[in-house]
């Protein structure tokens, strides 16, 4: 049904990386832009170091809070193996931003499993120039706080939505973050935006 096109965004990362804040920013922005939105995440045990995924969907009218398997239009991954975990979820024409960060899963930490190498290359094999690797930590650190890496990534990701004005993104940051970190996060957003 073309008249009710729903766009599917999957956010993935590790608990504590700020993926939830990123999804709240998306919700804020797309509601302001006049869309219906739904988002879904699993809580509970996730805060004990597990992986965190958020399904975010927007359109004229959204029913399911879950993205159908294979239906992801945009993937925003905060960690490399957490990007790879969802490679099958992406449409062939999907566009992807991934953070250039490795957080070793327990089995890797214990020397019982290997961390997959060449994850960006694996993605490029299928998604060609639609794959963008962003040095979120490095950029956020250069601004003085590694915590802002999530907003750097959101800045990079915002390039996929040229119809959404920068003001809407900045407005979301101002509404969702405490005042004393507004400047840092606006810089982080803009630096991230410049990477694509």
């Amino acid at each position: 049904m073309e008249n009710n096109k729903v766009t599917n965004i999957l956010l993935s990362g590790v608990g504590g990386q700020g993926a939830i804040l990123a999804s709240n920013i998306l919700a804020h922005v797309f509601v302001e832009a006049g869309y219906d939105v739904k988002k879904s995440e699993v809580h509970g045990m996730a805060q004990r170091g597990g992986d965190v995924t958020t399904h975010f969907r927007y359109g004229k009218k959204v029913y399911s809070p879950l993205i159908p398997y294979g239906g992801v239009d945009f993937l925003l991954a905060f960690e490399l193996v957490e990007a790879l975990r969802y490679i099958n979820h992406c449409k062939p024409e999907a566009r992807i931003v991934m953070n250039d960060q490795k957080i070793l899963p327990p089995a890797v930490n214990l020397g019982l499993a290997e961390y997959p190498e060449g994850i960006p290359a694996t993605f490029r094999q299928y998604f060609k120039e639609n794959v963008h690797v962003v040095k979120g930590q490095e950029i956020a650190l250069s601004l003085g706080n590694a915590q802002a890496a999530n907003v750097v990534l959101v800045g990079a990701f915002s390039n996929f939505f040229p119809e959404i004005a920068r003001d809407l993104w900045i407005g979301a940051l101002m509404d969702l973050l405490p005042k004393k970190i507004h400047d840092l996060n606006i810089k982080a957003f803009d630096k991230g935006k410049e990477t694509l």
Binding site: P68, G70, P106, G111
Partner: protein, 598 residues
């Protein structure tokens, strides 16, 4: 005004708009955020109860006094609350009384997967099932109206993907309840459930169900959408959302009320649509009932899975069979290292379970973060059934084993879990001359569900200072003579104490101290050093510290030698930014190669 709210926030908002003044709950995923949100509404006396049974009793008492009242719980909480609930269905209510019960299909964070719709049929009370946050708010308000109109408790069914999903919700103002506050002794025959009164109320229930069935046919949220006259789907809640996503052109009968069923509406749907499919999560609840009405259901649980959660693609795959095109598999996700939940770096539970493992104890476990001690590398917890079960089970195992079991058996549970369901079984252990040891992991909070207060923390839901249960005097009063305290971070002493108590032919309780949850902001723990580091000159790569499963410790492959010439295949490394300095790893290191940092 429209706002993006989580399903649980929307239920809280709905309760507030409906004029609720009393709300009670025990936390449980995925329902915990309802009361957390209620805490912010000054008009509502919101409280954490010690368990779900008490929560239902508190809310029903408020209802009998004329207030609109809410009780919330996860699906297994209803098992605990079932006793008052089943009889409250007889007494009915005065002020609107709604119980939210949140299911967890796919067991994201639960000990079983049960379909709470069965409670509605079992107790003969109506149940509404919202499918997103907007419906959560609307249905909560409607539930209070139905409750008062039909003099019945009303169930509102949540589930993980509804409670924990966000969508746009239209906010309106609060309307105070029209029911007058007051207790009337003349109403005693309605609330005293002795046989003579029960028989009267028993008949009332049947009359009420007939009236509710008629109401279901005209209930504004039982909606028929006729599109394709060939195929129609009957669904409710999240299952409707998934089915609508997968088959937008089919006709639908969306049920907002899943019990009782709108018989006339269902008959009309079968007249208007040739093939009717029933899409529902878990049990064939609607299907069984609709088939019993004599309708010819085209598809139901013959193709739709009866376990775990549904999704648009599971429904599409089930109904399309070989016509469903599987998306391309680019990487086998089973090849990727998993990221299971783990105890935090520095968690007091890790230290305690390390001691239990070294002692070779059979640990009757319970519900909480410490259940994670089941997983490798600790593997030091051997049962988990339900809230508080550990104590009675350990006692029973001791009864079965006799002297053979001495020194081998203990029960382990958290502070909140102990207060929920552990007091009775400790009393039983003493009374019936059991010898098992109960270890209360007092981390000063309800950890797993997100740090909720309870009667042992000294604070209420709203953050006001309150009485703090003293576990020592409590278990003393239950008759326990052997009460010990341990600092779990002192491994040697902890092991000695646990060993002594497990070997004692008498009931004992061990309470941990200095062990607040690592995520706790208010409570201070006493760690001597800010972090620990590995002396790579000394580390022999024996991997003993890795057996702790601490997320701050990792293995680094590097073949070589220690400074004193011992061969090694690698060394361990401690991530300074993650290490809180609990010092557990330094205690287990046999080569003194983990040292305090400064």
């Amino acid at each position: 005004m429209k706002k993006v709210l989580q399903g649980n926030e929307a239920i809280a908002r709905g309760a507030w708009e409906a004029g609720v003044t009393v709300a009670a709950a025990y936390p449980g995923t995925p329902s915990s955020e309802i009361l957390a949100e209620i805490a912010g509404y000054k008009e509502i006396a919101g409280q954490w109860s010690p368990n779900e049974k008490v929560a239902v009793e508190v809310a029903s008492g408020a209802s009998i006094a004329g207030a609109r009242a809410l009780a919330c719980m996860k699906h297994v909480g209803m098992n605990v609350a079932a006793d008052p609930f089943m009889t409250l269905a007889y007494t009915g209510i005065k002020g609107g009384f709604v119980i939210v019960v949140a299911d967890d299909p796919n067991v994201h964070s639960s000990q079983n997967e049960q379909d709470s719709r069965n409670w509605a049929r079992f107790a003969k009370v109506p149940m509404l099932e919202p499918g997103d946050a907007a419906e959560c708010k609307d249905f909560t308000k409607m539930a209070f109206e139905i409750s008062e109109q039909f003099d019945t408790p009303v169930l509102l069914k949540g589930e993980t993907r509804v409670c924990h999903s966000d969508s746009l919700v239209e906010l309106t103002e609060r309307q105070e309840s029209k029911v007058a506050l007051g207790l009337d002794p003349k109403e005693a025959s309605k609330y005293v459930m002795v046989p003579a009164n029960v028989r009267v109320r028993r008949k009332t229930i049947e009359t009420r169900m007939k009236e509710l069935e008629a109401y279901a046919d005209v209930f504004s949220r039982n909606v028929m959408e006729i599109n394709d006259p060939e195929v129609g789907i009957i669904a409710a809640g999240a299952a409707y959302m998934y089915a609508k996503e997968a088959f937008p052109n089919y006709s639908f009968l969306k049920l907002g009320m899943v019990w009782p069923l709108p018989k006339k509406l269902i008959a009309e749907f079968f007249r208007k649509v040739k093939k009717v499919i029933i899409v529902e999560e878990l049990d064939p609840f609607l299907e069984t009932e609709i088939r019993a009405l004599g309708f010819n259901v085209y598809h139901g649980k013959d193709v739709i899975p009866n376990m775990f959660e549904l999704s648009p693609e599971i429904i599409a795959k089930s109904l399309m069979a070989e016509d469903y095109k599987e998306p391309e598999t680019r990487v086998d996700p089973n090849d990727l290292p998993r990221r299971p939940p783990n105890m935090c770096a520095g968690c007091p539970h890790r230290a305690l379970f390390y001691s239990l493992k070294k002692l070779g104890a059979f640990v009757f476990g319970d519900i909480g973060c410490y259940t994670l001690a089941f997983a490798p590398p600790l593997q030091a917890l051997h049962t988990t059934i339900c809230m508080g079960a550990s104590i009675g089970q350990a006692y029973g195992a001791g009864k079965a084993m006799g002297k053979e079991g001495l020194g081998k058996i203990c029960a382990v549970l958290g502070d909140s879990t102990f207060l929920h369901g552990g007091i009775g079984p400790v009393m039983d252990t003493v009374y019936n001359k059991g010898y098992s040891t109960t270890i209360i992991l007092d981390n000063r909070t309800t950890g797993m569900t997100g740090l909720q207060e309870h009667a042992g923390t000294g604070y209420t839901l709203k953050g006001e200072p309150a009485n703090m249960v003293n576990y020592e005097t409590l278990v003393q009063a239950l008759g326990v003579k052997n009460i010990r305290k341990v600092d779990p971070y002192k491994v040697k002493e902890t092991m000695e104490v646990i060993k002594e108590e497990m070997e004692r032919d008498d009931a004992s309780v061990i309470i941990t101290t200095n062990g607040p949850c690592m995520l706790h902001r208010r409570e201070k723990r006493g760690f001597e050093y800010p972090f620990y580091a590995v002396d790579t000159d000394m580390c022999r790569g024996c991997k003993v510290c890795l057996e702790l499963g601490c997320p701050a410790i990792s293995w680094v492959v590097s073949e070589g030698e220690t400074k004193d010439g011992k061969k090694r295949k690698g060394v361990v490394s401690i991530n300074k930014s993650q290490c809180p300095g609990c010092g557990l790893c330094a205690q287990v290191c046999k080569f003194e190669s983990i040292k305090a940092g400064a």
